[in-house]
Amino acid sequence: MKIFATLARGSLIAYTALFFAFIYIPLALIAVYSFNANPVNMMTWTGFTTEWYAQVLGFKTKISENALYLESTSQLVEALWNSLIIATSTTAIATVLGSAMAIALYRFDFFGRRFYRTVMFMPMLMPDIVLGIALLIFFVNSGINLGLKTIIIGQCTFLISYVFIVVTARLAGMDRTLENASADLGANEWTTFRKVVFPQLLPGIVGGALLAFIISMDDLVITYFIAGVDVTTLPMFIFAMLRRGIKPEINAIAVMMLTFSFLIASLGLYLRSRQK
């Protein structure tokens, strides 16, 4: 019986190890192969090189002498810039609007509160392609030119929801008697908000903003539909590359993007764990 239990436990642990291997080995693979010198078949190791990184970062390399490559690099840099501009703007807008809504729904009981809640959960449940085409039809019908502006607006529609949910979770964990305690000790509503509510809410708002930033940087589907012909973002650039044919420097881009989002996500999760 004991052997049986140990066996069951052992196989469960082995399974979980496999589970994590499934998640992380593919990611580790690109990290390794991003240093592979083989320009034709990326999964056949022919030697170590940092050339692809140099290439992506715009340093002069043997390959970059080639005019075709040079062009794709400048496109990449432009895509990266676009992504950063979009992510920064959407994060700012979505954080303000999403937090405001979270606070409103938490503090006030009003007619239509449930409706707002439902609307907030819709973008998270809807397949993003639906929102993408809806926005496309809307922008084209209302005569707005597709471009950075429409991407920013379009992304905000669902990023507000993410911020809302993170901030609401934070608010739900807050003790309402603390506000009473503050009022009892002589602080008016504004002082109470500034000194008691906001400091406790801040990790939630920062967390929501980080999440919005990452998701904005990563969004492909909605952006893809409303970007128009002139604007390309980083995920769109990679997507187009994948459809056209894979070049080795995509590995380097991928690794840099992974590192970037790992860092931001770790920072966010670290901040959250510290607050507890």
């Binding site: 003790d175 008697t177 603390l178 009473n180 305690a181 503050s182 009022a183 009892d184 000790l185 002589g186 602080a187 008016n188 002082t191 109470t192 000194k195 008691v196 400091p199 406790q200």
Partner: protein, 360 residues
């Protein structure tokens, strides 16, 4: 008339339940609390005691009536403009502030300069025995220490009145008892009135100058602890505070006869009409079978040893339950009746309290 610090004048409040009914939390309550008084609001949950407290602190808006604090009408004032501070049930310490910042909060929002604030925070913390703990965070403290921070925070601005909302309910029994005494001492030192809310009758009797027993949004009785215990005004107070044996019946001079034919002697000569006699369990003593003092004969169902006393659960011939408490010193007597399973429970008629009859 005593010097009044808080006066409630027909304070009324009703809540709507989610099921669509209305619950009367405060039923036109009149209450006067005097300066330097330790008043306890005692009652079961839902009796209105917390609502009453929140009406005074300003978190509940009255539907009707007025609240005066130190002669000033406070009815429409927000909580932050009332000279009243509260010790909350779960302390409500701000988790993102240190003990010092928590304690000094009332002074900070009132605009007291830093130097004076630091000094007064130190004084307040010393008063509750937490000297030098300014830099800690609330979560690094034990439950008892958190309790003390909450107390220091509430008294630092020298309120005219301190409200305590079941502040000891989260502490374990020993700590609770020592805090009871400390609170009482602190109240004397500060010289301000305390209104203390609890559902623990022992706590109420131990600490208070006066106790208000609440039920159904009304003050059932407002009296000194002794009067509450010895002369309850009605059967609710009698049963809620302490254990009791109640005998409803028709009172005559010196005698009350219950419907099932038991006769209870009492000391009130002129009594007539429907009434209820109260005999506390500890008023009974075990009498010999031929004893002539007023007594009840019971069949014993259960004898429980609880340390300082034996609790006797018996039934009269008419089937009525009777509880008696016999000091543990009398263990030989108890040994006897344990054999026979019968006992004659005698009592002193002068100690029997008569309650007026109540409409069912």
């Amino acid at each position: 008339m005593r010097d009044s610090i808080v006066r409630l004048d027909k304070a009324a409040k009703a809540f709507a339940t989610p099921e669509g009914q209305t619950v009367t939390a405060l039923d036109a309550i009149d209450l006067d609390v005097s300066r330097n008084e330790f008043l306890t609001l005692l009652g079961p949950s839902g009796c209105g005691k917390t609502t009453l407290l929140q009406a005074i602190s300003g978190f509940v808006q009255l539907d009707g009536g007025r609240i005066l604090i130190d002669g000033e009408d406070m009815t429409d004032r927000p909580p932050y403009r009332r000279p009243v501070n509260t010790v909350f049930q779960n302390y409500a310490l701000f988790p993102h502030m240190t003990v010092g910042e928590n304690t000094g909060y009332a002074l900070e929002v009132a605009g007291v300069v830093k130097a004076e604030r630091t000094k007064r925070v130190g004084d307040a913390l010393r008063m509750v025995g937490l000297e030098g703990m300014e830099g800690r965070k609330p979560r690094q403290l034990s439950g008892g220490q958190q309790q003390r921070v909450a107390l220091a925070r509430a008294i630092i601005a020298r309120p005219k009145l301190l409200l305590l909302d079941e502040p000891l309910s989260a502490l374990d029994k020993n700590l609770r008892q020592s805090m009871q005494i400390e609170l009482k001492t602190l109240q004397h030192e500060l010289g301000i009135s305390f209104i203390f809310v609890t559902h623990d009758q022992q706590e109420a009797l131990t600490m208070s100058d006066r106790v208000a027993v609440l039920s159904g949004g009304r003050i059932q009785q407002l009296d000194t602890p002794r009067a509450i215990y010895d002369q309850p005004k009605n059967s609710f107070v009698a049963t809620f505070v302490g254990a009791s044996n109640l005998f409803e019946g028709e009172a005559g001079s010196g005698q009350l006869v219950t419907r099932d034919g038991l006769s209870i002697s009492h000391g009130r000569q002129g009594a007539t009409g429907a009434a209820t006699a109260l005999i506390r369990p500890e008023q009974f003593f075990i009498a010999q079978a031929d004893d002539s003092t007023p007594s009840l004969d019971v069949d014993l169902e259960q004898i429980v040893f609880v340390g300082s006393t034996f609790e006797l659960f018996g039934r009269t011939a008419t089937g009525r339950r009777v509880i008696a408490e016999i000091p543990a010193m009398r263990r030989s007597l108890v040994g006897e009746i344990e054999q026979t399973r019968r006992a004659r429970l005698a009592y002193d008629p002068a100690a029997v309290h008569l309650l007026p009859a109540e409409a069912a």
